[in-house]
Structures are given as structure tokens and as C-alpha cells.
């Protein structure tokens, strides 16, 4: 647990599985403690969360003095005689879980629960008017109206406690809905507004039950309904059908303009209205208290709570996504930072924003400096000593720059005095072999054999097109061993990660030839795709290898770095997924455009506003 998820900023989740055990953990950031509960994976113990919370509270209260006063010495010298307390807590937790079990089986409770969930469904629909607007067209808006009408009717009919609490909310939501609906109609329809209102009321009785079951796209059902219903609806229908504005849409709109564009802006305004409505009451409440709270937070030691951090984290997450970090990774990162900072005591004159920013910056630097740095030259020297060639394989999707960066890396190796054999295992793309031949000729012109004591520094090993790539690679490696080449660079064809037969072929090439270094070439322009690419590549390599410990991707080459100015998030996404380092960075198309990654510079560029 300690070596993998926590240092690598994957601490967002609360549990961690390792072999046959599941470990649930909780961090106490104030005193820097970690509480871990381990149990067998096959058991599902419901009381674990509660147990860990109880243990945490008791331990903290009992030894609070020791921590506060003596610091590290206290930890070392104190004897923590917690065993009896722990056994007691464990027994309590087990008993409480046993007591709870029988009551769940009552059917009456089941029905209550089912009623509640139905209610929840309706409530949540009311809370998200923007979703409804997005999903449905004009005809769907009728459903909204019926929903809104159905909800208050149900609220008035319902007499349980949850409904009483929810009543207030629903009324405000209803207000919101009404307002939104009116705006919506006003924009799209000139007439027929009044005829709408009696229709929802008429349909509310019949509309209750089936509507509960479909949460989306049920335009057809609603339409059916209105056609076969009472007289009021029937006469309103044709009016609606033939309303020219309705059929053609907004008259003010240009003919060629896409409907979606307007839709979205409308969504946004709706969203804003909803946000404003909900934020206004809270702002009014928090006005005076907020000012004092701000002053209090500036001086003195306040411990961080989730609510304090949430708005800042949201902003940070959006900032990261704007800088081209994959969305899920940004979310996970923010979660992990939140977990690390929860309950931590801030120093004087530090705001929540600065603490969170600091923590996020540290986390990002940590991610970019992962395990063992791949030092290619060192490893090549090692292989030289053992008299065997050092094999590097380049893989990646189409068009990321594998062949170009292969040429750059071979130039760098030649500059350092190693002889290179390029194996052209891209037997599919037209011109791949010729491209590599041109590079070979150029490199040999730059470093002629005379200046390197008579041996050619670069040579190309190719067998034309259409042959099996794994076979060519194997022959190239044995040729290199015979001829005494120091490095073999294997160029493979670009392939999409979803293409199963091609991924199998790549996995076979890597499994059979056992290269020393497998480099994944990815471009810096990629966004959320990076996650998918790397995950699928790694999976394919792991699935198709026969060995116990499969060869996975060992390093990443980040290409086309000069095309992004400071949207460097792809670096973070890639290293986070694989936890392998970025070995090279390609910044152009000439031979000298090869760099290594500077973690601090990248993180500064990322955190810059």
C-alpha cells in the first residue's frame, strides 16, 4: 500500500487490493497518520468503514497530547497500547453489523424504499432542467411541463416524512422549471403557449406511472399520449403541429446555421440561471458569516474541510483540463489531493487556494518523476560489455512520429559513438523502408566511416514489404550480434489500439524478440485519447505474452512538443497511466530536435494561469 498508490497520487479511492487482501485506508493529515484495515477480498464486511472511523477517533483522542508536544520523538518513544481498545471496537462493530442484518429483510421496508427511490428519481429530474432541455426537442418540452406538474401533485399527495423535507426544494425547483420553460417557449414559439397549460394538467393523472420508468428519449410515448387523450389535448395538437414557427424553427435564424449551436448557448444560459438561483439564497445567507470566516481563515490555524477545498479543486480541475490533461486523470488527481489535504491544519497567512495549489504542484512534480530513470546510454554500455546488441522497439498509433524520432535517436547515439542497426519492421506503409533508407544515407553522410575508424555507424536491415514483422526483427537482431552493432532500433507500423489483430501482431513481436526497451511514441497533441491508447497497448502486451511477468511499455517518447505552447497536459496523462518515465521529447523535425523532460518546467507551464 505504501509504495504504490499513496506516493503516486492515486490515493483518491479508499481501498486497495493486493493479491488476496483488500486494504481500506484512511488518512489523518493533521497528525500524519495512516489507518489501514486489511481483510480477505472474498469477504464483504460492511462494518469496515465505521470501524476505521471509530479507531481513528479513539486513537487520536487518546494520544493527542503525545503527538502535539513531542513530535517525532513522541512517536518513537511512546508505547501505544491500543490493542485492548482495538479489540473492543472490533467486537462492537461486528455486533452492530449482525444486529442490522435481520431488519433489512422486511418487505414493508422494501416498499418504502421503492417509493423513496421513485421520488428521488423525480426530484433529481427536477434538479437538472438543463439535461432535460438537452435531450428533448420542442415536443419533449411538453414532458417537462407534465413532469413539473406531476411532481408538485405528487408532493401534495405524498404524506411521508421525506416528502415534507423535500417539499421546499421541489417548490423552488418548480419555480425554476416554470421560469425556464417560459423562456424556452418564448424563444421558440409565438403562439400556442396558453394552450399548453391545460394539456399538462389534463394528462397528469394518466402520465404518472409509465413516465416513472423511462428516464430519457420517450418522445414517441408522449406523442402517442397526446393524440389519444382528451379533447383538450386533441384540439391543441394540430395547432402545435402546424405552427410555422415550430416547424421551421426560429424565423430569426439563418438557414445554414446549425441548430446545435443555438441549443448549447441556451443550455448555458439555463445553466447559469439555475446556478444563479441556487447560489443566490446561499450567498445571502453566507454574506456576513463569510467575511468573518475569511478573516479567520487568514490568521490562525484552521483545518481544511472538504467544503472549503471543493470550489478551489473544481477550478483547478477545469484549469488542468483546459491545459489538455485527460479528464478522468484530472478528476483522479484532484481527488487524491483532496484526500491528502483533508483535515490538515493550515499555517498562518495561507489561503485555501495557495495550499491546494502548492499540494497540486507537488503532486504533479511527483508524477513526472517516476520510478527508475531510463538511462539509455548507461544500459547500452552494459550491453556492450556483454557483447550483445541493445534492442529498442518503437510502437504507437499512426502518424505520431515513430520513424522521425527513430532517426533522431540514432543520430544521438552515433554522436556518442555507438553503431546503430535500423530494422525496418514496418512492412505495411508505403514508403516506410525508403524513408528509413534516406535517413540512413543522410546519417552516414554526416558521420562517415572514416571518422569512426572505418566502421559504418548506421545500417538499414530491411526485407521489403508484406513480410512478417516479428521475423524480420529476429533476423535483424541476430545480424547485429554477428556484425557487432551496439544498438538495434526496431521501427514498427502504426496501429490503432482497437485493432485486435494488429495489436496481437505487435505483442507477438515484443514477446518473441524480448527487446531491452519498449518505447511508446505518443504525440503531445493528444488529449483524452492518450488514456485509451496507453491502456489498450499495455493490455494487449500483457495479454499476449506467455511469460509470467509480461514486458510492458518501458518508456514514453513525447513528440511534436513544439506544436503545443503551454498545453502540456498530455505529459501528465501519459505518465500517470503507465507510471513510466518520459525518456525523450521530440521538438521538431531535424536531427537535433531531441530533448529530455524537465519536470519542473513542465509543471510551471501547466500551473501558469
Amino acid at each position: 500500500l505504501l509504495t504504490a498508490p499513496l506516493p503516486q497520487e492515486r490515493g483518491g479511492n479508499n481501498s486497495f487490493t493486493h493479491e488476496a487482501l483488500t486494504l481500506k485506508y484512511k488518512l489523518d493529515n493533521q497528525f500524519e497518520l495512516v489507518f489501514v484495515v486489511g481483510f480477505q477480498k472474498i469477504l464483504t464486511l460492511t462494518y469496515v468503514d465505521k470501524l476505521i472511523d471509530d479507531v481513528h477517533k479513539e486513537f487520536r483522542d487518546k494520544y493527542r497530547n503525545e503527538f502535539q508536544q513531542k513530535g517525532a520523538l513522541g512517536l518513537l518513544n511512546g508505547t501505544f497500547d491500543f490493542k485492548d481498545d482495538f479489540m473492543r471496537l472490533l467486537r462492537d462493530a461486528e455486533e452492530s453489523s449482525r444486529v442490522r442484518a435481520p431488519t433489512v429483510m422486511k418487505t414493508f421496508e422494501q416498499s418504502l424504499k421503492s417509493q423513496k427511490t421513485v421520488k428521488c428519481m423525480i426530484e433529481t429530474r427536477g434538479e437538472k432542467p438543463k439535461e432535460k432541455v438537452k435531450n428533448k426537442k420542442n415536443k419533449g418540452s411538453k414532458k417537462e411541463g407534465t413532469e413539473a406538474a406531476a411532481a408538485p401533485s405528487k408532493a401534495s399527495g405524498g404524506d411521508k416524512q421525506p416528502s415534507a423535507a423535500g417539499d421546499k426544494e421541489e417548490l423552488t425547483k418548480d419555480e425554476i422549471l416554470q421560469k425556464n420553460r417560459e423562456e424556452f417557449f418564448r424563444r421558440h414559439m409565438k403562439a400556442g403557449e396558453k394552450s399548453r397549460s391545460p394539456k399538462p394538467d389534463a394528462q397528469k393523472e394518466k402520465g404518472k406511472k409509465p413516465r416513472v420508468w423511462d428516464l430519457g428519449n420517450s418522445n414517441a410515448k408522449v406523442l402517442d399520449y397526446s393524440n389519444s387523450a382528451t379533447n383538450g389535448s386533441a384540439e391543441a395538437c394540430p395547432v402545435e403541429e402546424f405552427d410555422p414557427d415550430m416547424a421551421l424553427g426560429d424565423k430569426n435564424r439563418e438557414p445554414g446555421r446549425l441548430y446545435d449551436l443555438e441549443y448549447e448557448s441556451e443550455d448555458e444560459t439555463e445553466e447559469e440561471k439555475v446556478v444563479q438561483n441556487t447560489s443566490k439564497p446561499s450567498a445571502k445567507k453566507g454574506g456576513l458569516g463569510g467575511m468573518f470566516g475569511m478573516l479567520k481563515g487568514l490568521v490562525g490555524s484552521k483545518s481544511l474541510t472538504r467544503e472549503d477545498m471543493d470550489p478551489v479543486l473544481e477550478k483547478m480541475k477545469d484549469h488542468l483540463i483546459a491545459k489538455n490533461v485527460a479528464a478522468e486523470i484530472a478528476v483522479q488527481l484532484c481527488e487524491s489531493v483532496a484526500k491528502k489535504l483533508e483535515g490538515k491544519v493550515m499555517g498562518t497567512f495561507t489561503t485555501v487556494t495557495s495550499t491546494v495549489k502548492q499540494a497540486l504542484q507537488e503532486a504533479l512534480v511527483q508524477i513526472l518523476q517516476p520510478q527508475r530513470r531510463v538511462d539509455v546510454l548507461r544500459d547500452v554500455m552494459d550491453a556492450q560489455r556483454h557483447r550483445r546488441p541493445y534492442v529498442v522497439t518503437f510502437c504507437g498509433v499512426n502518424g505520431v512520429g515513430k520513424s522521425t524520432n527513430l532517426a533522431k535517436i540514432s543520430f544521438w547515439l552515433i554522436e556518442n559513438g555507438f553503431s546503430v542497426l535500423i530494422a525496418a519492421c514496418d512492412t505495411f506503409r508505403a514508403g516506410a523502408v525508403e524513408q528509413l533508407r534516406t535517413h540512413t544515407r543522410r546519417l552516414n553522410a554526416l558521420h562517415p566511416p572514416e571518422s569512426h575508424s572505418g566502421r559504418t555507424m548506421v545500417q538499414l536491415y530491411e526485407k521489403g514489404y508484406g513480410k512478417d514483422a516479428a521475423g524480420i526483427a529476429m533476423e535483424a537482431i541476430s545480424y547485429a550480434r554477428n556484425q557487432g552493432f551496439d544498438v538495434v532500433l526496431v521501427d514498427t507500423a502504426g496501429r490503432m489500439q482497437d485493432n485486435a489483430p494488429l495489436m496481437t501482431a505487435l505483442a507477438k513481436l515484443i514477446a518473441v524478440n524480448a527487446p531491452d526497451l519498449v518505447l511508446f511514441v505518443g504525440e503531445a497533441l493528444v488529449g483524452n485519447e492518450a488514456v485509451d491508447q496507453l491502456v489498450k497497448f499495455n493490455k494487449a502486451l500483457a495479454d499476449h505474452s506467455m511469460a509470467q511477468t509480461p514486458r510492458l511499455i518501458d518508456g514514453i517518447v513525447l513528440t511534436k512538443f513544439d506544436t503545443i505552447d503551454d498545453k502540456v497536459g498530455a505529459a501528465i496523462s501519459m505518465t500517470y497511466i503507465t507510471s513510466k518515465p518520459i525518456v525523450f521529447v521530440g521538438t521538431g523535425q531535424t536531427y537535433c530536435d531531441l530533448r529530455s523532460l524537465n519536470a519542473k518546467a513542465v509543471v510551471t507551464a501547466l500551473m501558469k494561469a
Partner: protein, 254 residues
């Protein structure tokens, strides 16, 4: 308000115009100067009062830390954060240093080193003598990173390479470790300086030792010593640790 101040200022000036004024002014200056000196001295003293315990994972840093401070054996886990405490160097002298134990995990070590390197008066680099053969490259790489760091080159803190785990029979001796490290660092400085330059082309890694000659620890600007020690002690968990060399060196350094 300005009008109110003016008569006050005038009154003050009148009061101060006597010899009293001079003494008041002198007193103020004296206070300010002592304050500055005190701040300066304390800054100098406290800025470099720390002894850092560095090393790879499982080298024995945390156990060494516990032994030096409390003399007792504790079961330790992989550290994920630093621990610091003041250590009284010897019984008669009252000098003490702050021992800081940093985690050895790859993702964390550089970050914590950044934080504490400016305060380092001395560095204890703990090496696992038993697993040294296997880990020689990683040890050398971390040592190299520590040695070429700009702040550390500037301050040149004393460096002690503690070859830990000598209680195990297969442990390598300090001389052997020194030779191997010198060889490894020799190759490393060639490969590292040949690596592609950094993205923002911040100056390349500093040159370690003298060019042309093989790398030797005596070429470094700081004093380097090798010492053998065992945090666990030859008698197992109950007995004392063999920390003589380490403690003597700490006395020298403090």
C-alpha cells in the same frame, strides 16, 4: 487629521531637539542593529543545522534514525514523509543537530531533497551493503543526483556514506563499495552529460570531479568518508546497534 498631526509633530520636534533626542536616536539605532545582527546570525546558524539521512528504499534510514534518537529497535515501514528531531551529539557538549530522515521512495525522494537541501550541514547516505551488488546502478544514480545538485555543490556539506546492514554475513565492505561507486559514477558522468539537453535548456549537469582523470571521491569539493555500521546490531533486536563510527563522525561534524 493632517491638521491634528502637525501640531503633534511640532511638539515632538521641540522635545527631541535637546540632548535627549540624540540618546533616543542612538538607542533606536542600537536596537535596530542588534536586531539585524541577531537575525543574521540566527539565520546563518539555523540555516545549516540539519543532518539529512538519504538512501534508497530499505536501506535502513528510519531504523538508524530511531536508534540514534532512542537507542531502541522499532519495526519500521516504508516512509512516505520526512521525520525530524533534534539529536544531542554527545553528553558533555551541548551542541545538537537536527536529524532529518527522508523517504527513499523514487517518487518522493527528490521532492523532499529539494525541500531540505538548503538546510543541510551534513549528509549521511545510507547504503544497503547486502543488496549493493544488485542495486549498484540505482545507488550511484541517486548519489550522482545528490552530488550534482547546485545547492549542495555550493554549500559542500560533509558527506558520510554509511554502509549499513553489516551484521549480515554477505555484506560488502566499505572499501569495496567505495571502489564500485567510483567506477559507476565515472561512467554516469559521461552518460549524463551526453544526454539530450533539457526542454528549457537550463544548463547541463555540472561536471563531477576532474575531467580526464577517473572519478575519485577525493575530487569532490566536500569531505567524503566511508563508515560501516549496523542499525540492527549483531545481537538482533534486543542488542545495541553498531553505530560507533557514525556517532563519532556526527560529533566531528556538529
Amino acid at each position: 487629521m493632517a491638521g491634528g498631526l502637525e501640531p503633534d509633530l511640532a511638539a515632538l520636534r521641540r522635545e527631541l531637539s535637546g540632548p535627549a533626542a540624540l540618546s533616543v536616536l542612538l538607542a533606536l539605532i542600537a536596537v535596530a542593529v542588534t536586531f539585524l545582527i541577531w537575525r543574521f546570525v540566527q539565520g546563518r546558524r539555523s540555516s545549516r543545522k540539519a543532518v539529512l539521512l538519504l538512501g534508497l528504499c530499505d536501506a535502513g534510514k528510519t531504523l538508524l534514525f530511531a536508534r540514534l534518537l532512542s537507542g531502541r529497535y522499532r519495526d519500521t515501514q516504508t516512509s512516505i514523509t520526512d521525520s525530524s528531531a533534534t539529536y544531542r551529539v554527545s553528553r558533555d557538549k551541548s551542541t545538537s543537530v537536527t536529524l532529518i530522515d527522508l523517504p527513499g521512495h523514487e517518487s518522493l525522494r527528490l521532492q523532499f531533497l529539494e525541500r531540505f537541501k538548503a538546510a543541510a550541514r551534513a549528509i549521511v547516505f545510507v547504503v544497503d551493503s547486502v543488496a549493493f551488488q544488485r542495486e549498484v546502478k540505482d545507488v550511484a544514480e541517486f548519489l550522482y543526483q545528490v552530488l550534482v545538485d547546485g545547492t549542495i555543490l555550493k554549500n559542500a556539506p560533509a558527506l558520510l556514506i554509511a554502509c549499513n546492514k553489516q551484521d549480515v554475513t554477505m555484506a560488502k565492505s566499505a572499501k569495496l563499495i567505495q571502489q564500485q561507486l567510483e567506477k559507476e559514477l565515472n561512467t554516469l558522468r559521461v552518460t549524463r552529460s551526453a544526454a539530450p539537453t533539457s526542454l528549457d535548456s537550463s544548463g547541463g549537469p555540472a561536471q563531477l570531479g576532474k575531467k580526464g582523470k577517473d572519478f575519485d571521491f577525493s575530487q569532490l569539493p566536500m569531505k567524503v568518508e566511508f563508515v560501516e555500521c549496523s542499525a540492527r546490531g549483531s545481537k538482533g533486536e534486543e542488542g545495541d546497534a553498531d553505530l560507533e563510527g557514525l556517532e563519532k563522525w556526527l560529533v566531528k561534524v556538529a
